[in-house]
């Protein structure tokens, strides 16, 4: 991997020989809370709805005719425009990238609002999505990380074209990085090309104004419960989560290992073995640790027969407490570390995955070769650190969100 700064551009290059497609990701930091929930996602959609010289239909047709795959996504802390194309189409793909990022008209705002609302309504038909939406909205309440699709549905009608232009202005003036993975023939030529054509990608040394959030403020003691009633369901959807320190904290590698042991390693995690294999409570049960820039969320999830809600919640806490009281064996600890390392490799096999991961790491201020640093940090985690992380969770307030038919919500 190579990091090049040229004429104000930050470029990360991953040279992968003999790969037929190149991935280029343009990353932009999102530095401020959204004025309306979902406005950055709406902005991202509008970037593919026509430029000054090409209407949406022409743009889509030309991109697809050339098999240039474009995906523009807004997340809580960044916006990413990814282009994936055959190596020989490099310059053509980058011409489209430049046109999209510089010349979009945002004229189709009302239509995109209409489409977005219909898509959200369909998404919220899924019990898991509905429960997850209520859970995230609840645990981050009062903070922009609580901007979920249901909140977007409530606020999207307020968005005006000036709001979109304001977002665009902020994006253009934010911290940026271009991350490339592919069969790179000439590094100098490539960086010169970007310098000549993408001066709007010059990075700015901005600081995120999104507030840090370190704790979940429970309305109801140690574990607040949100109950969502939905009739005629065969399974309850259950989340329990804690707000925890994020990626730059000393706790990050410790929570990562703890998460792996509890419920993220695959078929051998403790939750999987105890709640699924031994008790038959679920087909899907897991833990997850989602690190955002200003906060992070550790959570348990299970989809279970509605009458098992209490048993499942008890199972979560039982496993967490067990780990807090008894550090994992050296064998289990080492297994978790190797699992995390293997997963890192597994999920960076394609150029698209690699460009995406390296670009984000750099934008988030984690530096270059963060994967190697992460593995080093993981390898320094001790069994007591893992118990410490579990104790940390137990000392904090949590939020439970249960979605089930009404008659099963008296737990």
């Amino acid at each position: 991997m190579e990091h090049i700064t040229k004429d104000g551009l930050d470029i990360i290059l991953n040279d992968r020989k003999n790969t037929p497609r190149t991935s280029v990701c343009f990353y932009f930091a999102v530095d401020e809370p959204e004025k309306y929930s979902g406005i950055y996602a709406l902005f991202a959609k509008l970037l593919l709805q026509g430029t000054k010289t090409k209407d949406a239909k022409t743009l889509a047709l030309e991109l697809e005719k050339n098999c240039i795959d474009v995906s523009i996504k807004a997340k809580q802390d960044y916006l990413k425009a990814s282009f994936l194309f055959l190596n020989e189409d490099f310059k053509l793909a980058m011409q489209y990238a430049k046109d999209i990022l510089l010349n979009s008209t945002f004229d189709e705002l009302e239509k995109e609002k209409f489409k977005t609302k219909a898509e959200i309504k369909a998404d919220l038909d899924s019990p898991r999505v509905l429960a997850s939406d209520s859970f995230v909205r609840g645990i981050f309440r009062g903070h922009c990380y609580s901007n979920t699709c249901s909140k977007t549905l409530e606020e999207i009608d307020n968005v005006k074209k000036d709001d979109i232009l304001d977002v665009y202005n902020k994006i253009l003036n934010s911290k940026k990085v271009i991350s490339i993975a592919g069969d790179i023939e000439d590094v100098n030529e490539l960086t010169q090309y970007f310098s000549d054509n993408f001066d709007f990608m010059k990075t700015n040394d901005t600081e995120s104004k999104i507030p840090v959030i370190t704790d979940f403020v429970s309305k109801d003691g140690n574990a607040e419960i949100i109950k969502v009633s939905k009739a005629n369901l065969n399974q309850a959807q259950l989340f329990q989560g804690w707000i925890v320190p994020s990626i730059k904290s000393d706790l990050y590698p410790k929570i990562s290992v703890m998460n792996n042991i509890l419920g993220a390693s695959g078929l051998s995690s403790r939750l999987f073995v105890e709640l699924r294999d031994k008790q038959g409570l679920a087909y899907t049960v897991r833990s997850s640790y989602e690190a955002l820039l200003k906060s992070a969320l550790f959570s348990f999830y299970i989809a279970t027969e509605p009458k098992n809600i209490k048993k499942s919640l008890d199972g979560f806490i039982f496993e967490l407490t067990k780990l807090a009281k008894n550090p994992p064996s050296q064998q289990e600890l080492q297994g978790a570390k190797e699992n995390l390392t293997g997963r890192l490799e597994y999920f960076s096999q394609t150029n698209s995955q690699l460009a995406s991961m390296e670009g984000y790491n750099y934008l988030a201020g984690l530096g270059l070769n963060y994967s190697a640093k992460f593995i080093e940090m993981i390898n320094n985690v001790s069994a007591n650190d893992v118990s410490g992380a579990a104790n940390y969770l137990l000392s904090k307030n949590s939020l439970i969100c249960a979605l089930a038919p009404d008659e099963y919500l008296n737990f």
């Binding site: 003999n18 065969n234 399974q235 699924r276 294999d277 027969e305 597994y346």
Partner: protein
């Protein structure tokens, strides 16, 4: 020296070296594909799935897939998962209509242990009674020991809460008259709750014979080194004397004989629609590729016909998402259009969809050129990771019985012209031979 009977080399598109297919005297096949990667993949594909089931054992292929992970003579339940995941492996399995497969993707450095344990699992599963869990009457009894039986029942429950699954299941049932494809791969709660452990074992002994298995290895290896290890580890038992499970009679059904319309209602916000066709076997390469191409023209990307007509070309679209889907099967492919739509516009939507299908009588040269390039890129995409390559090879070996179609894919794609596509569409994707399944919000008329 390896003991295979026959070796075939296949020039697999987008791989730098030919893929080798080795056939052993007992019919067992090994495929080795080279890929320069830190990761390696081993998978074994069994030519069985719901295609070999009947009314009494529907779901047994999938249940067995779960139970294969429950220990062998050498390793107790859980050791396989724990050992390989603690070496960075991603392990799992899946069951579909024509095949069941088991895979490990793992850093190359740990490949030997992966091969050893994967082979052990494939040839010596114990299926212990206490891991299966006691049988019970579904819906009336709750067993004290909820083991793997109950896990699968939870998986069935999960499917029942999935709106697309509801629409697909109803459509799939309606599209076929008698063929075993009519049934759900996952089976029913009643069967899974009651099927005896010995029946599951008998199913294994019937269908997991060497001539029904293909092991695929993808990674940076020498063939002889891999073959030697496979021959050492895959010690097949002889099940020739057991009483075999009976499968339902299979008469391939191509083109729906009794087109049906199925409507269900539940507590959803939006309408769900699937429209389906039955086509020729996936072994008919030219026709399968024709479906790939038509699928791209109709439903892949914003500039596809369906997206343009129903979403991108509308000021206030009544369809929020629409796409096409092509499932390839041994006894005949499926082609679907699926969409979320404003349920008030149901009749209009169905009429317009049928109208769009009729328009397949005209396909322009530009459209075809664009779709062909996309089909090539899709194929290239399947050669990016060791697991994608293994999945693609495993599919061809299980559904088409041969890897040659992969080698001929791009050449055959080039042979397809507008006339062929239009004639194909008129015969197989004619609106008069489709079935339709919709799910609507409760309270809708």
């Amino acid at each position: 020296m390896p003991n295979y009977k026959e070796k075939q080399e296949i020039n697999y598109p987008y791989l730098s070296k030919p893929v080798s297919v080795y056939t052993y005297p007992n019919g067992y096949r090994v495929v080795i594909a080279k890929k320069d990667s830190h990761m390696a993949n081993i998978s074994t594909w069994v030519k069985t799935g719901s295609i070999n089931e009947n009314e009494q054992n529907n779901g047994v292929s999938h249940f067995l897939e779960h139970l294969m992970f429950k220990g062998t003579t050498k390793y107790k339940a859980g050791v396989f998962d724990r050992t390989l995941e603690s070496k960075g492996g991603i392990i799992n399995a899946a069951t579909w209509k024509d095949y069941t497969y088991y895979y490990v993707t793992i850093p190359k450095i740990s490949f030997d242990i992966a091969l050893h344990m994967h082979a052990d699992m494939m040839v010596d599963p114990l299926i212990p009674e206490d891991e299966v869990g006691p049988s019970f009457v579904f819906g009336k009894e709750i067993p004290e020991q909820k083991r793997e039986r109950y896990v699968v029942i939870e998986e069935i429950r999960m499917g029942k809460d999935n709106n697309w699954r509801k629409v697909y299941s109803a459509l799939n049932d309606a599209m076929y008259e008698k063929h075993p494809y009519k049934r759900e791969v996952i089976g029913t709660g009643e069967i899974i709750a009651s099927i005896p452990r010995d029946e599951v074992m008998r199913y294994y002994e019937t269908f997991y014979s060497p001539d029904n298995l293909t092991t695929v290895v993808v990674g940076d290896f020498e063939d002889d080194e891999i073959l030697e290890k496979i021959e050492r580890e895959f010690k097949f038992k002889d099940f020739s004397n057991i009483e075999k499970c009976k499968s339902d009679e299979r008469i391939p059904e191509v083109i729906i004989k009794k087109p049906a319309y199925i409507e269900q209602k539940t507590n959803v916000n939006t309408g769900y629609l699937m429209l389906g066709f039955l086509c020729e076997s996936a072994k008919n390469l030219k026709q399968t590729i024709a479906l790939d191409v038509i699928s791209i023209i109709l439903g892949e990307g914003k500039s596809s016909r369906l997206n343009t007509r129903f979403i991108e070309g509308q000021k206030e679209p009544y369809v929020s998402q629409i796409e096409t889907c092509h499932y390839q099967f041994k006894d005949g492919d499926n082609f679907f259009i699926e969409a979320n739509f404003d349920s008030d516009k149901k009749e209009l939507f169905i009429d317009e969809l049928k109208d769009e299908l009729c328009k397949l009588a005209n396909i322009s040269g530009d459209e075809l050129k664009k779709a062909k390039k996309r089909a090539k890129v899709n194929f290239a995409q399947e050669a990016e990771t060791v697991s994608d390559i293994a999945d693609s090879i495993g599919y061809y070996m299980s559904v088409c019985d041969d890897l040659d179609p992969a080698q001929r894919y791009l050449l055959t794609l080039d042979e397809i012209d507008e006339k062929y596509l239009c004639e194909f569409a008129q015969k197989y994707l004619n609106p008069s031979v489709c079935s339709i399944s919709v799910l609507l919000p409760e309270g809708d008329k």
